[in-house]
Amino acid sequence: MASPVAQFELKSYGPQIEVGGVDLSFTNSAAMMVVAIVGIVAFLTVSMSGRKLVPGRWQLMAELSYEFVANMVKENVGSEGRKYFPFIFSLFMFILFSNLFGMVPIPEIHYTPTSQIIVTFAMAFVVFIGVTLIALARHGLKFFTFFFPSGAPVYMAPLLIPIEVISYFVRPVSLSVRLFANMMAGHTMLKVFGGFVVALGVFGVAPLALIVALTAFEILVAVLQAYVFTILTCLYLHDAIHLH
């Protein structure tokens, strides 16, 4: 039986692309990212092509996804978050579609880009850097008061400041590991139970039933983790704009 984590290995397609000795080949992960963005663009443009006053099902879904993220930004960031809405919306749709397409067994290229720590970390790191730059641009040196909660007694500073600094710098790690671990654990679990189905023969019906339930659960996790990643991004952005 193949290792349950073998599914996370990358396969490269096409010509070997090397830039300055660094391998940038097109892989199944990249293929699924392309599938995800094509899916998103198709979903949002084809469904809205009618521009109907009374929306149909597809148009309604596109509008709902827009309003879902728009409300999230409005409630958690405020009106200043309007500028960053396209980024947050893209982020949400990208993670959501990557997670969901990862559940679809597309032959050859089947892969979940968000099950790669480097992918989730890159996204979380961009969010972290962006949020820190926004905070510095808006508040200048006052930004550093963020690390000492106002109202706390001064003698607590030696304890509080390290805690706040660590919790701030841990943000990209927790943000990326949460998504990566959820996706990876889910897919590993499905693979393990899939192995049981084959190994147990007729009695494989039991793990098969479990896989059906787990698949539904994984779809929930896929949506939920996209939501969590996005809402935490919104909360960090709120901190950057309002400083607590």
């Binding site: 039986m1 290792s3 349950p4 984590v5 073998a6 996370f8 990358l10 490269s12 692309i17 391998d23 940038l24 080949s25 097109f26 892989t27 992960s29 990249a30 990212m33 392309v34 995800a36 963005i37 998103i40 663009v41 949002l44 443009t45 809205m48 521009r51 109907k52 006053l53 596109a62 509008e63 827009y66 309003e67 809405f85 396209p86 919306f89 893209s90 749709m93 990208f94 880009p113 790669q116 720590i117 480097i118 992918v119 890159a122 996204m123 590991v177 949460r178 990566f180 671990a181 959820n182 990876m184 654990a185 590993t188 679990m189 393990v192 939920l224 983790q225 939501y227 969590v228 809402i231």
Partner: protein, 197 residues
């Protein structure tokens, strides 16, 4: 929302736990050499590169095409609904005005009808009073005339009585004492006698 976050944290925790368990299992299965493919640093550049390429393309597509399109539709629907509500409000106001006019006309008609009734009543009662007064006056006149006639008749009758009495008295005096009394004396005497009576 907090509950959701806590829930996801729990999920994350179980996920991490499962990850450790599965990782250990994988390591034992593939004969000790099993490391997670995710930790293969050699694959990082290509993944980051393609992530950025696809995400930037997505971002441009979202901010330039998809989001404006959705916003346009939502805005149009919003303004259309507001417009329709406006129109409905205007129509309602119009209807209310029409109703008010109708009610005013009705009230006016009712008022003028009442006025007409009152006037007619007044006229009728005035006419009645006048007719009554006229009738009263006519009756009074007739009574007066009748009284005058009765007086006249009485005086005439009295005068006749004096004449007859004086004649009878004259005749009686002549027969009794044979003295001829002149008519004027007789009349005087009779008048005197009647007055003293």
């Amino acid at each position: 929302m907090k509950r959701l976050l806590r829930f996801s944290a729990v999920l994350g925790g179980t996920g991490a736990f499962a990850l450790i368990a599965k990782g250990a299992m994988a390591a034992s299965e593939s004969g000790g050499g099993g490391t997670l493919p995710q930790l293969d640093v050699g694959t990082f550049p290509t993944q980051i590169f393609w992530l950025f390429v696809t995400f930037i393309v997505l971002y441009i597509a979202m901010s330039k095409v998809a989001i404006p399109r959705i916003e346009y539709v939502l805005e149009e629907r919003h303004s259309r609904i507001a417009e329709d509500l406006d129109k409905a409000g205007k129509l309602k106001a119009d209807a209310e005005e029409v109703q008010a006019n109708y009610e005013k006309a009705l009230a006016d008609a009712r008022g003028s009808a009442q006025k007409l009734i009152a006037k007619t009543k007044d006229d009728a009662s005035g006419k009645n009073a006048k007719a009554e007064a006229e009738a009263d006056a006519a009756a009074a006149l007739q009574v007066k005339e009748a009284e005058a006639r009765i007086d006249e008749a009485r005086t005439e009758a009295l005068a006749n009585v004096q004449d007859v009495v004086s004649e009878v008295a004259g005749d009686a005096v002549a027969k009794l004492i044979g003295v001829k009394v002149t008519k004027t004396d007789l009349k005087k005497a009779v008048a005197l006698a009647m007055e003293t009576k």
